[in-house]
């Protein structure tokens, strides 16, 4: 029998923005929390993303659930504003707006239709801008390529490292224990009830486990089916703030290329980095020359000024998608004590509220917001989604937008 290293009320797996949020909110409710992170705080997707806060990510996929999604992302923004009042670390959250750019007439018409649906579902913020209006908001864009855009002024960005570290620090102040460089070998379940987690030198006993490992979630809990998606990211040298400064651009449908300027002036650039043949390993964090050139040149067609700017570093991050594009947040059906918070294409817009919901469920058995549409077990028993191979952009674009 493996030795029991320690006992906890809740073990949170994953040291990203979502895991540290869960740890904080659970500690806030007086729970004895142990957070285990395989590498270091924010070493996974959190530390590799552009830090975008986008209240309604993507286009067609789940457009019908706009009102449902806005409840969560607006609540998320409210919580982050509270954080800013009493957290020691400033995680640089700013609402500078977000432009979702149409690069041809058909995309512009799509945006027009999408906005009508969004408005009909109570979204009073979203605005449609034609080319002139878009260029007034962000003059540095390439007029020959821009057709128009969708603007939400309440979107913004933040420093993802600092968000995760801020939540982790506040959780520690409330007694939570953060254990890094500790890989979970398995979630220990006996007759469908969580006993704790197994790590290299023993067991941490706990009646509750929160799986907040996003892209890696299915490795610990198969049936929840979170698909890892490889994203390439780059950062430029520091530039003065570009007035006015809505940031991130989503274009080319759901396969977003993006550019977002941080508080310290660097531009974070991002784009899809499909896994490579022959083995299509989505966790492959090495970088390939052709994908760096592709993402750079695509963004430079949209934002030509950046082509005169030096790229300082490039890296790869692993996002988590679910087959239907909605996150998986909720108790794992059939396993008492296992709570899932994973599958976020836009994690920074959901992290704080997901952590709070996890703590509500574990402490009160119910949640302040309805999580019925995000039941982690909704894919159990269904045929596993075969990610289209070879994984090329156009095929995946249709796959994601039209659903499995």
């Amino acid at each position: 029998m493996a030795t029991v290293l320690k006992k906890a009320d809740v073990v949170v797996i994953g040291g990203g923005a979502v895991g540290t949020a869960a740890a904080y909110h659970l500690a806030l409710r007086g729970k004895k929390v142990v957070l285990c992170e395989m590498r270091n705080i924010a070493a996974g997707a959190t530390g590799r993303c552009g830090g975008m806060v986008v209240h309604c990510y993507g286009r067609f996929l789940n457009i019908d659930k706009t009102d449902y999604r806005l409840k969560f992302t607006r609540a998320n923004t409210k919580i982050m504003k509270e954080y800013q009042k009493n957290f020691e670390i400033d995680f640089e959250f700013r609402q500078v707006g977000c432009l979702d750019i149409a690069i041809d007439e058909s995309e512009f018409n799509d945006l027009k239709r999408l906005i009508e649906i969004q408005r009909s579902l109570g979204d009073d913020e979203i605005e449609l801008l034609d080319r002139k209006e878009t260029l007034e908001v962000m003059p540095n864009l390439n007029p020959e390529v821009i057709f128009g855009s969708r603007l939400r002024k309440s979107d913004g960005n933040l420093n993802p490292f600092l968000l995760a570290r801020a939540q982790a620090l506040e959780a520690q102040k409330l007694g939570a224990e953060i254990v890094t460089h500790t890989k979970i070998e398995e979630i220990v379940i006996k007759n469908n009830e969580v006993q704790g987690v197994k790590i290299s030198d023993g067991i941490i006993e706990s009646p509750y486990v929160v799986n907040a490992t996003n892209g890696w979630a299915s490795l610990l809990t198969e049936d929840i089916e979170v698909i890892p998606v490889r994203e390439l990211a780059m950062v430029t040298e520091r530039l003065p703030e570009l007035p006015p400064q809505p940031f991130e651009m989503l274009c080319n449908g759901d396969f977003a290329y993006g550019a977002t300027q941080t508080v310290s002036g660097n531009y974070n650039l991002g784009g899809p980095g499909p896994a490579r043949p022959p083995d299509y390993n989505y966790f492959d964090e090495t970088i390939y020359a052709d994908e760096v050139l592709r993402v750079m040149s695509y963004i430079f067609t949209i934002f030509p000024g950046l082509s005169e700017v030096s790229i300082v570093r490039s890296w790869v991050g692993t996002m988590g998608f679910t087959p239907d594009g909605m996150p998986s947040i909720g108790p794992m059906p059939g396993i008492k004590g296992l709570f899932i918070v994973a599958g976020f294409p836009a994690g920074m817009s959901w992290a704080a509220i997901s952590g709070k919901i996890a703590s509500e469920y574990i402490c009160d058995g119910k949640t302040s917001l309805p999580i019925n549409r995000m039941n982690p077990g909704r894919f159990t028993g269904k045929p596993k989604v075969q990610w289209p191979q070879p994984y090329d952009l156009t095929v995946c674009h249709d796959f994601l937008t039209k659903g499995a």
């Binding site: 090495t286 970088i287 390939y288 020359a289 052709d290 760096v292 050139l293 082509s307 005169e308 790229i311 490039s314």
Partner: protein, 362 residues
């Protein structure tokens, strides 16, 4: 663009690797981000140590000129003003020259990107005219401009001692060389030379503060005990207008990290060093490392390691007959062994053996 052997960094190691490989029929592309090749050679106006095979007794920049001629003689393709911004797994290199970006594919790669000077933090350390000793050496010997007239040097290793002498040669007044440990770190001959020329070497002392505005004006040094604690009351204020930091170098191994090489942490060789075997093959098939990037030593060892890597790459490409190649390799290894002896060499030999051991154990 394709090449058989791409070499990144045209310093002593890169130049020797290129020459040795090209001399034996390998198609070599030597890449360097600077306008001229040579790396540290062209700021080293002193004579090299070692033996005849190490070109001892010849000044660094003369050796540099000789090697530049050899690169032309043996048909090495030299790409200057070209930055390697990425080393990718399938032996591909991302190049940029001006705003022209391209990718070159190689069958073998040698990384000889050299080293960067360590800095030292103390109140005021970011003031203008507080710079690396190697930086001051570059300004004086390459750019022919004297950044300051009253110089304080921190660190009494060979770099600190040699730069003190070379600043004096350029007409500056060197106020003192300050060393934290109780004894001088560099060669006695370098120390004797500057002491007889009136430059005091103050051991068991360190810099505790620097003051200035648009340029450093004052430096405070103080005695420290063997736990590096400042002894109150031992402070001295010196009037300076240039402070040179000579507290060691570390390998410039970003490309090695990017390619996913395995590393070892060896402070005696400058910190994180890419694992390699006795023929400079790194932990990634087809990629070799040579010179300071594979562990901080001096230019003479960098040259020998360059030869080693150049020939090893040539053999593995099938372009150099094994028997003949092995001869050159053994000669280079003898050269290295001779350099890694004595109080200044033993610890390097031991560390290098540890790296090779970890290479095979990894």
């Amino acid at each position: 663009m394709k090449t058989e052997l791409a070499i990144i960094g045209a310093g002593p190691a890169g130049l020797c690797a290129a020459i040795e490989a090209a001399k034996n029929g390998v198609d070599v592309t030597l890449i360097d981000e600077n306008r001229t090749a040579g790396g540290q050679l062209f700021k080293q106006i002193h004579r090299f140590f070692g033996s005849e095979e190490h070109l001892a007794g010849i000044r660094g920049f003369e050796i540099g000129n000789m090697m530049l001629e050899d690169t032309q003689k043996y048909g090495v393709k030299v790409l200057l003003n070209t930055v390697v911004w990425g080393m990718f797994p399938d032996l591909k290199l991302g190049l940029s020259n001006g705003n022209m970006v391209s990718v070159i594919e190689a069958r073998r790669i040698i990384v000889s990107t050299g080293a960067l000077e360590n800095s030292l933090s103390f109140p005021g350390w970011t003031l203008p005219n507080i710079m690396g000793a190697g930086a001051a050496q570059t300004m004086v010997n390459v750019n022919r401009v004297l950044p300051g007239n009253k110089v304080l040097i921190i660190g009494s290793g060979n770099v600190g001692l040699i730069v003190a002498y070379q600043l004096l040669q350029a007409g500056a007044e060197v106020i003192a060389v300050v060393e934290a440990l109780p004894e001088v770190r560099g060669y006695q001959v370098h120390a004797s030379k500057i002491v007889r020329m009136g430059i005091p070497i103050i051991t068991s002392h360190t810099i505790t503060r620097a003051e200035g505005d648009s340029c450093v004006r004052k430096a405070e040094i103080a005695r420290i005990d063997d736990t590096f604690k400042v002894l109150k009351g031992s402070e001295m204020i010196l009037d300076v207008d240039l402070i040179c930091i000579a507290v060691g170098l570390r390998p410039l191994a970003e490309l090695c990290w990017m390619a996913g090489m395995k590393f070892d942490y060896l402070p005696q060789l400058g910190g994180f060093v890419p694992l390699h075997n006795e023929n400079m093959q790194s932990s990634i098939e087809g990629i070799y490392v040579a010179g300071d990037v594979a562990g901080i030593e001096e230019a003479s060892s960098a040259m020998e390691e360059g030869k080693l890597a150049g020939i090893a790459a040539g053999i593995s490409l099938g372009k150099i007959v094994k028997k003949q190649g092995i001869e050159i390799i053994n000669k280079a290894k003898e050269g290295l062994r001779a350099l890694r002896l004595g109080p200044y060499g033993d610890y390097r030999q031991e560390s290098k053996e540890k790296i090779v051991h970890h290479y095979y154990a990894a």
